[in-house]
């Protein structure tokens, strides 16, 4: 295998594994703010017990996010040195801003969130929870800014430099608010809220199924279902905005998402399908003209298809099509599940049946699948470009790193990450089986 393919596989592996955790931290961060806020408002001990239990789960996801995140920050330099030289002026700024504005805030207040129960008063503890949650969101902001710039570069010029041509920032705010930042950021954050909320729904439903910790589980489920419903509906809305943005800014990606081949023709919207890339056909169920109607309000409006682009400028179609439709399918199911959870929590429906509780338990996988598939759509859909229209992925590689070295690191990361994932599941499972602690009902945050 060549070094380009190996480096891409390694990046995909390390980012996909990393991306299991930050969405959980962002989403659980919001859940924690809601729970601790409810505790301070109502002073009901169960809210304190909930906060403390979910803080322990949060700590686990956060630790894995940190451990796997540092790999991401170094990997641009190790495997994509030519890319790093080309974009350092732009992309490096966003990463540095993330460090200084997000990570310091997050890690500082995390210490108080985890270990500060007896060191600071309840108000200050709540403030720390809010700051950790905010820090996690800041981190998402800068990373999505950096990634959006790779999708829709703006606010820069290409300049000659002694080590080769490179992109230099000419307008910082145009770089930050490049054409896809806002819709991609909101969509990403809502996806993260879903990840956290559905984890809480899942664990709570598990307790209800087992008839354990009922009060704790019912209230956790109530808080999480409210967040899940808002985030799931919001994801649909921002997803639509994102698709419109892709249509404007990255038409080749949009064409791949719906496997729309004709250079210019009204486009259908597929519910399910299989792409035959050789015959340039899709076998599946489609609503005729629906894509045209959704993007232009006219079912007959022509949309540029893959054939409008030179073969070397087209992204892989099957992978983009399937991950995009997987994301949408799962997203729709999640709206239904969140609605069922919210109706029950609002006492508009009697307690859910056992099969519905089992569906709640399984729902934790939904946002993870949708988030991964969404990123796959965004990143594979950007191919063959590493920076859309400016630099091809293969031109961004490290020239001094041979294929053997990447094989070594890829094998190492695969082994280490497989082990970490097994350990994560084992520890998560043992924490869930252990359940909330009785002592947390009476602990009461107080000064030592």
């Amino acid at each position: 295998m060549d070094v380009a393919l190996l480096s891409r596989i390694q990046f995909a592996l390390t980012i996909a594994f990393h991306y299991l955790y930050p969405p959980l931290s962002i989403g659980l961060g919001v859940v924690l703010v809601m729970m601790e806020g409810l505790y301070l408002k109502t002073r009901l001990p169960v809210y304190q017990q909930m906060t403390r239990f979910w803080v322990r789960i949060f700590a686990l996801t956060f630790a894995l996010g940190v451990a796997t995140g540092i790999v991401m920050e170094f990997e641009f330099g190790t495997n994509w040195a030519a890319y790093s030289r080309f974009v350092g002026d732009v992309f490096g700024s966003a990463l540095a801003a993330e460090g200084i504005f997000a990570f310091f805030l997050e890690s500082g207040f995390l210490a108080l969130l985890l270990f500060g129960w007896n060191k600071v008063g309840p108000g200050m503890h709540f403030f720390s929870t809010v700051m950790v949650c905010l820090g996690a969101h800041f981190s998402a902001i800068w990373i999505v800014v950096a990634n959006s710039w790779m999708q829709t570069p703006a606010g820069f010029r290409i300049a000659q430099h002694s080590l080769g041509p490179r992109a230099e920032v000419t307008d910082f705010w145009a770089m930050v608010f490049n054409p896809s930042t806002v819709e991609r950021l909101t969509h990403t954050i809502l996806g993260a809220w879903q990840a956290g909320a559905f984890l809480v729904i899942s664990v709570s439903a598990f307790y209800l199924l087992k008839g354990k910790f009922e009060e704790f589980a019912r209230r956790s489920l109530g808080v999480a279902a409210a967040l899940a419903l808002a985030a799931s509906i919001g994801s649909l809305a921002t997803g639509h905005l994102s698709a419109e943005g892709v249509n404007r800014n990255q038409p080749a990606k949009l064409a791949a998402m719906e496997a729309h081949f004709p250079a210019s023709a009204p486009a259908d919207l597929y519910v399910l399908g299989w792409v035959d890339e050789a015959k340039q056909r899709v076998y599946g169920v489609a609503v005729p003209g629906m894509l045209s109607w959704m993007l232009h309000g006219d079912a007959k409006a022509p949309i540029a298809g893959l054939l409008a682009f030179a073969p070397e400028d087209r992204p892989p179609v099957q992978l983009v099509f399937q991950s995009y439709h997987l994301m949408i399918g799962v997203g729709m199911v999640l709206i239904g599940i969140a609605l069922a959870g919210a109706l029950y929590a609002a006492r508009l429906r009697p307690p859910p049946s056992r099969w519905l509780l089992r569906l709640f338990v399984a729902s934790v996988l939904g946002p993870q699948i949708a988030n991964q598939a969404g990123w796959m759509t965004a990143e594979v859909g950007r191919q063959p470009w590493i920076v859309y229209g400016l630099m091809r992925t293969n031109d961004g590689l490290s020239r001094s790193v041979p294929a053997e070295a990447v094989v070594f690191s890829l094998v190492l990361f695969t082994l280490v990450y497989a082990m970490l994932f097994a350990l994560f599941l084992f520890l998560l499972d043992s924490k869930i089986k252990h359940g909330p602690l009785d002592e947390d009902l009476t602990a009461g945050p107080q000064r030592a």
Binding site: A59, L60, A63, L64, V66, A67, I70, V71, E73, F74, F76, G77, T78, A81, A82, S84, R85, G88, D89, V90, F91, G92, S93, L95, A96, G99, I100, F101, F103, F104, L105, S107, G108, L110, A111, L112, F115, G116, W117, N118, V120, S162, L163, G164, V169, T170, F172, S398, R399, S400, V401, A405, F408, S409, V416, L420, L427, S430, L437, E439
Partner: protein, 339 residues
């Protein structure tokens, strides 16, 4: 020395890396010394001594890396890709360090805890050693082409000078960690750790003296700044005095002052490297290929924007860091939320 934008960024990136060495240096040192105590409670005290702060300390490295990427992308790209296997091992070491701290006390089984204790210690040792090796190579000079790509292989990185700076870094962090532990422990554990301080200082001073001799003999370029600006010689003297002050403060039981002395020594050492290197960031075997603060820098516009970001961010960072250390001051007490 002119104070242009590039020099300011040299100082800022240097300050971030020095901040990292001072702060995470003692975390890594605690890890290096971790296996020298064997009771479970003592090991938990060690881990919880760094528990609330190690994560924030590692952020200095993450931000230092980000700042290097933003201000001197050619160095970030050239060094990280050039030292590929070493960087990958460093990342794996940092992963194991992080998860060992998080996972160790979450299960009661003796084999589980022993496995994570060994991971924690080995990862701390390996991480410190590899950072030292990387620094040694950047100082000694590496073969670079005209585009700033590293031409050597992995084995060229394992030269005697770099191995020596690797060991010196391990010894420095072990000393720094021992002094930090004196500050955070009490009773029997503290008595034990207090006894280690002198030994770690002796090991470090031997390594440091050897590295200094090797540097002056084989890498005369590192001494140029001290020849042209003789007043800078106060820095090595001050660093030596800071190191010598540590045992004195420990004997008198002024642990805080001993720790501050050790911090000053780490900072001073980073200053010495910086002074010797300036204005280069990576020395090329052929000096014409060296990556300097000029040919490796981002555009002036970006350096200016980043300076505004730093001016907003650094006071916030210092405020969080100082508050956290203040709130978590005092001896370690184990409770149900501890590691």
């Amino acid at each position: 020395m002119t104070t242009d934008l590039n020099t300011i960024w040299f100082l800022l990136v240097g300050a971030l890396l020095a901040g990292y060495a001072v702060l995470d240096g003692f975390d890594l040192g605690v890890g290096i010394l971790h296996l020298f105590v064997d009771r479970d409670e003592e090991r938990r005290i060690f881990i919880n001594a760094i528990g609330p702060v190690w994560d924030g300390n590692e952020v200095w490295l993450v931000t230092g890396g980000g700042a290097l990427f933003a201000a001197f992308p050619a160095v970030y790209a050239g060094v990280f890709s050039g030292f590929y296997p070493a960087m990958i091992l460093l990342l794996v070491a940092l992963i194991f360090r992080a998860v060992a701290i998080e996972f160790r006390s979450k299960q009661p089984m003796a084999w589980w805890r022993r496995a994570w204790d060994v991971s924690f210690s080995a990862a701390s040792f390996l991480g410190s050693f590899l950072m030292g090796v990387a620094f040694g190579n950047v100082i000694r000079g590496i073969p670079l082409d005209s585009r700033g790509e590293h031409l050597g292989g992995f084995l060229t990185l394992l030269n005697p000078y770099a191995l020596l700076t690797g060991l010196t870094t391990v010894a420095l962090f072990a000393m720094h960690g021992a002094i930090y532990l004196v500050l955070k422990t009490e009773g029997e554990v503290q008595g034990k750790v207090r006894g280690w301080v002198n030994n770690t200082i002796i090991v470090f001073v031997i390594c440091y003296a050897t590295t200094t001799m090797a540097t002056l003999l084989y890498l005369p370029h590192m001494g140029e700044a001290f020849k042209t600006h003789p007043w800078t010689f106060t820095l090595p003297v001050a660093t030596m005095l800071a190191i010598a002050n540590v045992p004195r403060e420990i004997v008198h039981g002024r642990d805080w002052r001993a720790f501050l002395s050790s911090c000053a020594a780490v900072f001073g050492l980073m200053g010495l490297v910086g002074l010797g290197m300036y204005p280069n960031l990576v020395r090329g075997t052929d000096p014409r290929t060296s990556l300097s603060i000029y040919n490796a820098a981002s555009s002036d516009g970006t350096l200016k924007t980043m300076l505004i970001i730093a001016a907003i961010g650094i006071p916030l960072v210092l405020a969080y860091t100082i508050s956290i250390y203040w709130i978590f001051r005092g001896k370690v007490k184990l409770d149900s939320m501890s590691y």
